[in-house]
Symmetry: C2
Subunit: 218 residues, 2 copies
């Protein structure tokens, strides 16, 4: 069997769990693929709500040249953007990656590492307007592909992104089988998943809900 396709998923305190675990579930069904959870501090990870929910198995140095770099987002991304070891790892790994992708505000880490300079990109709708700060042109889409760099919208958008990558890397039929494997035939009971489908009142309520949810104290 050929060398496995290596996925490095960056884990860090404050991350949003579903940003990573949605795509993880797609990646783990890709043929001949290994998934490395990497962190500048391997071990237990406190997610944004404060729970010790996740675990990173590897240091950044363990996985210097993955085929796919994956960066999840966070409602409190600022500390990651000051983590010099992570930014340097992103820069280096990006020089050899086949794919460099983010979900939600993970785009800002790619941006801070210089990877989005001059590119179109997307992120969680509540942070979209800030993308020019890291050199990117904001686009309100579910996902934005610019060569090997792919950014997705907020949280659940990572599942769609991962299926897209699975299709590009392993072919549409494999991606379709993975979709069936995770029974991804979405039927949300409501239809308010993006700002264009929400009233101003619902947008305001959502910002308050995100602000007031339990979290690690920064």
């Amino acid at each position: 069997m050929s060398k496995p396709f290596e996925v490095a998923m960056l884990f860090y305190d404050y991350m949003t769990a579903l940003d990573a675990i949605g795509p993880y579930e797609v990646f783990r069904l890709m043929p001949n693929t290994v998934i490395r959870t990497v962190s500048s501090r391997p071990g237990l990870i406190r997610v944004d709500a404060g729970y010790q929910l996740l675990n990173a198995e590897h240091s950044l140095d363990d996985v210097p040249a993955p085929d796919l770099i994956f960066v999840p987002g966070s409602g409190h991304i600022a500390p990651l953007l000051e983590n010099a070891a992570v930014l340097e790892w992103l820069r280096q790994a990006h020089t050899t990656s086949k794919w460099t992708v983010s979900v939600c505000t993970g785009a800002f880490a790619l941006g801070k590492a210089g990877i989005l300079q001059g590119l179109q990109a997307t992120t969680h709708w509540a942070s979209l307007e800030h993308l020019p700060v890291v050199g990117a042109t904001p686009v309100q889409e579910r996902m934005v592909r610019q060569g090997k760099v792919v950014t997705a919208a907020g949280v659940s958008a990572g599942i769609d992104l991962a299926l897209e990558i699975a299709g590009l890397e392993f072919g549409a039929t494999t991606a379709q089988a993975i979709q069936l494997g995770i029974e991804y035939d979405p039927h949300p009971p409501f239809d308010t998943g993006t700002p264009s489908k929400a009233t101003p009142e619902l947008l305001a309520m959502t910002r308050e809900l995100m602000r007031s949810a339990p979290k690690i104290e920064p």
Copy 2:
């Protein structure tokens, strides 16, 4: 503030990560809600693919009477069905719960605990035909509600289930805000997420993909 709404999420080795983390991301945005990850062996959890990806913070005894009991599934559910401590916890906690819910093959744990006796239920499409073994009548739906017992289809169906519960418990507007918070406006690149949308060849390929994916050796 009134007593928080307490969610107990059962974690166990071999579990499918997204089964739990999709709903988790919805639950953590519900107002005045605490989430307890519980296990008969708290600590690091090896998910079905073998990675030490998750962590359970509490023992079963820590959370004897949650408002919501949540049971994720696994591609290798058999050991959980022989775990007497878990089954007894499920039986006891179910006597006082407001909601008792499962995703994917988690339904079989509810069933083994006697909770699905005489009820309609659903599970991952690949296991649906086996539900009568635990006394349930199989229904091929995204989710099946029978009073306070709600079962969902495979893996990603948990997100839809959790939004439904959020709406029933906290009102439709709150659930809509949560949907917007996790930007759940699904746009899968394919439309093959349920058996009725798949060819026999794709079904066979998917079974093989699920069988051959990396896993903990049972």
